[in-house]
């Protein structure tokens, strides 16, 4: 899986607290991504077993609000995400160090 900038942002939000659960709209706001980018990405991550989705259990104090679906990193997902982010950070540092080298993600 190629680590794109939007994906990197989502992973950063998710790894900030791996146990936390996020609603789609929370993730959109935190990662500053539009829904058209976020949801296909979440679907892919879910398919690859890096993220798990769960339905909110209906609380009586919800005031008739429909239950929402929330997302959380799996153990495997947390491991992969940390690895990928560390890799990206290392790449960025190397790119900054040598000016001749093309920036991360500009080739391929």
């Amino acid at each position: 899986m190629k680590l794109t900038r939007p994906l990197e942002r989502v992973l950063r939000v998710l790894t900030a607290d791996p146990a936390a659960r996020h609603y789609g709209y929370d993730l959109m706001k935190a990662a500053k991504l539009p829904s058209g980018t976020l949801y296909p990405m979440l679907a892919r991550l879910e398919q690859e077993g890096l993220v798990e989705a769960e339905w909110e259990t209906q609380r009586p104090d919800a005031g008739g609000r429909p239950p929402r679906k929330y997302y959380r990193l799996t153990a495997e997902g947390a491991r992969v995400a940390r690895l990928e982010l560390a890799q990206a950070a290392a790449d960025d540092r190397r790119a900054a160090a040598s000016v001749t080298r093309p920036a991360h993600g500009s080739t391929q």
Binding site: G24, S35, G36, R65, P67
Partner: protein, 198 residues
């Protein structure tokens, strides 16, 4: 608090329509998930003023439309045309009656030209030719759109007859809307790796 329920209904409607692209087993759940985010967006007090929340809800549902398009494309299916046989050229025009079609086309053009010339002779008008030219262009565009609708194995969002009505009813606006919204693009519906049919 007058506009919010309308916006929510509209956004829900958009999401429902977008979800039709998904396969039946995912449709209901996805639709429920995405609709459930709408109250949260519309009551998000950090976004002010209220019309910004409405705009955000609508752009959210537009993003959902993009999402279902991407998901269905990634999985390689589309709502109306699950079989890919037609895309491989199976049910396209038979080359056998090409001569016949060309003759009919030529005859139609001759009739049109003859009629317009005789009409102009009978009723001379300073801008007669311009009017005829514009009318011919408009008619040609509408006919092209109609032909595209008839030949297409599937169209989006509306039944074929509805698109045909729109194309004929509003020239050229209807045709432009059909081509940009209703037409199933052949290029990006092709399964990856398969050859484009001639």
């Amino acid at each position: 608090m007058t506009a919010t329920p309308h916006v929510q209904r509209l956004a829900e409607r958009l999401i429902r329509v977008s979800c039709r692209r998904l396969p039946a087993d995912q449709r209901a759940e996805r639709c429920k998930e995405w609709s459930a985010e709408l109250p949260a967006i519309l009551h998000d007090q950090t976004v002010r003023p209220r019309f910004m929340r409405s705009a955000r809800a609508l752009s959210y549902s537009a993003g959902i439309a993009a999402t279902t398009r991407r998901l269905s494309r990634a999985a390689g299916w589309s709502r109306r045309a699950p079989a890919s046989a037609w895309r491989d050229g199976a049910a396209r025009a038979q080359p056998g009656n090409l001569g016949l079609r060309a003759t009919i086309g030529l005859a139609i053009w001759l009739v049109i030209i003859f009629t317009s010339v005789s009409l102009l002779r009978a009723f001379p008008h300073p801008h007669g030719w311009t009017v005829v030219l514009i009318l011919a262009l408009a008619a040609a565009f509408a006919v092209c759109c109609l032909a595209d609708i008839v030949q297409a194995p599937a169209v989006r969002y509306l039944p074929k007859w509805a698109w045909a009505l729109i194309c004929v009813g509003q020239i050229p606006g209807g045709g432009i809307i059909y081509l940009s919204v209703g037409r199933v693009g052949r290029s990006h519906s092709l399964p990856p790796g398969s050859a484009q049919s001639p």
